[in-house]
Subunit: 285 residues, 2 copies
């Protein structure tokens, strides 16, 4: 019997597992593609042969996979072992996803907490880590000491399960407008022959260091991912569009943004830095 | 003979005239609608009977009207009096407008400086005032002491005449993305039942005081203009779209933004605060 199982060993799932191990937790891990588990086994984690065994192994199950469809498929394989477990859902999705997932977990006898991690995998376990949470307060209190090893900044938003992903959408929303405004300004510089260094210097003077850094990516032509891949941002705006559509709110701006990010994905820039979006924007229509 | 003539007495033209008078300048003024001149006459300005007389009256002519079409029409009436004058163009437009206007001024014997005032009329003559300038350096140096009474922060960008409006586009560009992201976040709050006060408090915590204030406009339902009317922002994004089109750069984002601002203009919100844009965004499609 281990203390906690982590299902899904992408960049974020692996980071969660690594920090839990570093904090002395007995850990079971599982991933559809088991080679991702190798470095964690070296740190003391036990690899489960399948999702059902991973759920069986621990009282607390952290799920961190690509999307809710993948999560549902994995958990369905393990449903017989769910009664009495606490599911901590770290997969990114919409508030509607969280509501459906909580209902399904309760029907299958598990307690349920929804998490949204706003920082990068490298922030986990550092003072920069920030996790938004929603779910029954008694369940949150029970898992709090474990979660506190991942992020000291646990931002519990309440019992309504959609609140973690809702706040995540709000946290990331402002970046999309920033990206589009910033990249259009770069186009203005290029069209008018203003050296991009001058715009970059202005951003620095205004204390906009992230924007300045994105400009420098464009200047150098080096779009190598160092913080979060473009595909993560593409997924985030897609969730915001889905949310707007089921909520019947106007969404021309998120929809246009999602389409531009999809263009960048289609162009093969998904694993590059978000500044690679500029490469599709700069093309003349 | 006066020292300077101001053509156009909208909010910005009136503010320029007021500050020049307060600094002891002998001033001639003119406006298509002469009732706007009354408070300035009370402060010592001389009202010219027509644009030609206003240009005749002073060696330096400040033009600050609705758009370049209006400016061209007014200056054409006064063209015979232009030789030897210095034209300081404060009308907002594109770099292309500035280039055409400079060429026309030179053909008509006038020297030419292009200005873009990034702050509000109330900033003129205060430490917050910021004026971007372009034009022949010798002409800029000649007018510098006069302009310095309007803004200590004179941001001379060079001899290429389009540079003032280009930098103005860059300065304002980031606001449009901010507006659209912010207002979508407000829609998310409303769709998910998060009290807007909570989002507003987060913005305050992040030091985003302008965004917080825009949120408070929405919360209170009070969209009364206190900084800059929505129509000014609508004009700004329209210039950015025009620039993108003549420059053959991708402009889906500015074009969508311009369309949303046009919706707000069509709905009659032009004289309200920019937060009134939310009123058209919040309507379900």
């Amino acid at each position: 019997m281990s203390e906690v199982s982590v299902l899904g060993l992408g960049n974020m799932g692996s980071a969660l597992a690594r920090v839990l191990l570093a904090n002395g937790r007995q850990l079971t891990i599982w991933n559809r593609e088991p080679t991702r588990a190798t470095p964690l086994i070296g740190m003391g984690a036990v690899l489960a042969p399948n999702a059902a065994a991973a759920v069986m192994a621990s009282p607390v199950i952290i799920v961190c996979v690509t999307n809710y469809a993948a999560s549902h498929s994995i958990l369905t394989e393990a449903a017989a072992n769910l009664p009495g477990k606490v599911l901590i859902q770290c997969t990114t999705g919409t508030p509607q996803d969280a509501r459906a997932s909580e209902a399904w977990a309760h029907e299958n006898g598990a307690e349920y907490i929804d998490c949204a991690i706003t920082g990068s995998p490298s922030s986990i376990g550092t003072p920069d880590a920030h996790i938004l949470l929603a779910g029954q307060e008694s369940v949150f209190r029970k898992t709090e000491p474990l979660l506190r090893t991942l992020a000291d900044n646990l931002d519990y938003k309440g019992e309504s399960i959609g609140l973690a992903s809702t706040w995540e959408m709000i946290y990331i929303m402002h970046y999309y407008g920033m990206f589009l405004s910033l990249f259009h300004s770069v186009q203005i510089c290029q069209a008018e022959g203003i050296p991009l260094e001058q715009y970059s210097a202005l951003l620095g003077k205004q204390g906009k260091n992230y924007e300045k850094w994105l400009c420098e990516n464009i200047l150098s032509g080096n779009y190598q991912e160092t913080s979060a891949p473009l595909e993560l941002w593409a997924g985030g705006i897609q969730h915001i569009v889905e949310h707007a559509e089921v909520s019947n709110i106007r969404a021309e701006f998120p929809r246009l943004t999602a389409r531009l990010f999809q263009d960048a994905m289609d162009a093969g820039y998904g694993r590059e830095e978000v500044s690679a979006l500029f490469k599709v924007l700069q093309r003349p229509l």
